[in-house]
């Protein structure tokens, strides 16, 4: 497998870096997108975006921003998965595909075990799963399953909150009684935890859920565990936060960071023609860009197997697989070093971008 290709044909790595720098340097408004990288890769990519007065976006920004929007315009109670495992006496899983969004979820939350700390230590843990995917909930023995389609989730949460507040809902007596029973379970929890993923819960539903958490906290203790987006989304978001003050979908066109989830959304930037060159980074799994336009100069940093036939491709290693990587850990809710599981000598994203940056003429645009 070649380490770099141009329109599918092998080129020398040094030439690839120089060519990448030339493309980005020549663009009016270059885009650094995908951003599937570890913390070091994200740092390098955001620095490059700043140097180029371009914009950066992450491939899972929609999900990340769904949570962030609630956090920054409403507020959010969260805890770590570890805390939920240790103390949660009532765990409510919301929506389908949670085990897909976080493959280690069931192992980490240990739902079948009793909580070890807190008022309900050693008491059986109540587990409720609303709207799981097919057989998903079978992996949690004893879980009470409330069937609901993904579209119905927001309405279910609204009805819970209405009944928790003692307000009426336009439902039959039987359904109201069921909801009231469920709400009573929530009220009686001593350390309740909602678990959700923004990949299946929209920002308004998350706001509804968090509003319910606030109201529950007047009566007991309740909190949430949100499952972060794919391709290192949480770590990249943290990195963007400490570097620019903003999450991804931030641009440096005017020399200072401006955050605008609409303006700097990568597909819109490319399809509108406003971005006239793109650096696509997807080091975890080689996910492809979602935009439809194929005529702008494109540089791809991805693992070997995902070499595109078009544009410039530079092979990079996988964070935590081919090289050690600092990543946001869903398990602990903090940054952790993940040792390489199969060390290899492909450059990391940070190294590849460092090499491109070395070729970018400093100050050309200042």
């Amino acid at each position: 497998m070649e380490t770099a290709t141009l329109d599918g044909k092998a080129i020398a790595l040094g030439d690839a870096y120089r060519h990448a720098a030339k493309i980005l340097n020549g663009a009016a408004f270059p885009l650094i997108a995908g951003l599937g990288a570890d913390v070091a890769g994200a740092r390098a990519a955001i620095l490059l975006a700043e140097r180029l007065k371009g914009a950066f976006d992450h491939l899972a920004s929609r999900e990340t921003l769904a949570d962030i929007d609630v956090k920054r315009s409403f507020g959010m109670f969260t805890t770590t998965a570890n805390e939920a495992r240790l103390r949660g006496d009532c765990v409510v899983l919301i929506g389908p595909g949670l085990t897909q969004a976080w493959s280690g979820m069931l192992e980490r939350l240990a739902l079948a075990e009793t909580p070890r700390r807190g008022a309900q230590a050693q008491q059986p843990r109540k587990v409720i799963w609303v709207g799981p995917d097919g057989d998903e909930a079978k992996a949690v023995p004893g879980a009470k399953v409330i069937p609901a389609s993904q579209q119905e989730l927001s309405g279910v949460l609204a009805a819970w909150r209405a009944r928790f507040g003692g307000r009426p809902v336009a439902l039959g007596a039987e359904k109201v009684a069921l909801i009231d029973g469920l709400v009573e379970t929530l009220r009686n929890a001593r350390f309740g935890v909602f678990v959700w993923s923004a990949s299946t819960l929209d920002p308004l539903a998350i706001e509804m859920l968090q509003a319910l958490v606030i109201e529950l906290n007047a009566a007991t203790r309740f909190t949430g565990v949100h499952i972060g987006g794919r391709s290192g989304a949480s770590g990249v978001t943290q990195t963007a936060g400490w570097m620019t003050g903003f999450p991804p979908r931030t641009g440096f066109g005017r020399g200072y960071p401006e955050h605008d989830p609409w303006r700097f959304e990568s597909s819109r930037l490319v399809d509108s023609g406003e971005a006239d060159a793109a650096l696509w980074i997807s080091a975890f799994d080689g996910e492809k860009p979602a935009w439809s336009r194929a005529d702008i100069p494109l540089i791809t940093l991805a693992p070997a197997h995902s070499s595109p036939s078009r544009g410039l491709f530079i092979k990079v290693g996988q964070p935590g697989v081919t090289h050690d990587a600092v990543l946001m850990s869903q398990e602990t809710g903090g940054m952790t070093l993940r040792r390489a599981s199969a060390p290899a000598d492909a450059p990391s994203v940070a190294q590849a971008i460092g090499a491109i940056m070395a070729e970018v003429s400093e100050g050309a645009w200042r």
Partner: protein, 269 residues
């Protein structure tokens, strides 16, 4: 007296920030000074003179001959007593944080039109993008005053966190109309798709067509409402279809009961 006019020479290759081109901010500047105002938002400089032919006129009204979906922040922070008219489209955040005055757009407007509006009157003859009158990312409240009339259709999340003022959408409204509304009034003469009024606190959402609003909106019956008559009179000259809608007997759905149950969706009975 003829208005101060900007005539578009060519479609800009990048977005431009037109917030500097409101009457109060142009006052006291020569044509040469105005032509030198930087409106670009990328590392490629774009000046007013690169994009527009500037012809002086009375600075009560600013007129744009030719628009573009890349004209962002047009009429931002407009002050009472001034007017801006656009023969064409505008981009994002048209009329953002306007304190008063009047903005008319002959074409379409992008997302976040009338965002944070404090008292201006906006009339968009075409369609508008998402988040009409809504807050920007991270802001706590949406439009706080003024009147917005959209003759065409609106995108998703129109009226998000509306606090005060009136929104009229004569065409259809996209998903999640009137979500998180704090107060104020939204009227849709066309169809409202999907969820309506999710997390509505005390706002009034008036729809020409009924529908199912989920279990947290509760039917409170059809009524003659005096406030609707006053509203109809006030709106008659600005939107006859909206005034007609308000003149009908209205069915009141109280909600969102998930919040306080003190808002409402009113539908023509």
């Amino acid at each position: 007296m003829k208005p101060f006019t900007f005539t578009l020479r060519q479609e800009p290759p990048q977005r431009v920030d037109l917030s500097a081109l409101t009457p109060d901010r142009l006052a006291g500047k020569s044509v040469a000074q105005i032509e030198a105002i930087e409106i670009g938002v990328t590392r490629i400089s774009t000046k007013v003179g690169d994009l527009f032919k500037v012809s002086e006129g009375e600075l009560k009204t600013v007129r744009f001959e030719g628009g573009s979906s890349r004209f962002d922040l047009l009429g931002a922070k407009l002050l009472p007593g001034f007017e801006i008219h656009v023969e064409g489209d505008v981009g994002a955040q048209c009329g953002r944080l306007a304190k008063g005055g009047r903005i008319t757009v002959d074409g379409n407007a992008g997302p976040h039109a009338a965002s944070g509006n404090l008292g201006a009157e906006l009339e968009i003859k075409g369609d508008v993008g998402d988040f009409l009158a809504g807050p920007l990312a991270g802001e706590l409240a949406g439009m706080a005053g003024g009147r917005v009339i959209v003759r065409g259709k609106a995108g998703a999340r129109a009226g998000d966190r509306l606090r005060r003022g009136i929104l009229v959408i004569e065409g259809d409204a996209g998903e999640d109309l009137g979500a998180r509304v704090i107060a104020g009034t939204i009227l849709v003469v066309g169809e409202a798709k999907g969820r309506v009024g999710y997390l509505n606190k005390r706002g009034s959402i008036v729809l020409a067509r009924g529908g199912c609003f989920g279990s947290t909106y509760v039917d409170c019956g059809a009524h003659e409402l005096t406030f609707a008559r006053l509203f109809a009179r006030s709106l008659r000259d600005h939107s006859a279809p909206a005034a007609d809608l308000l003149s009908r007997r209205l069915r009141r759905y109280g909600g969102d009961t998930a919040v306080y149950g003190k808002g409402e969706i009113l539908t023509a009975d």
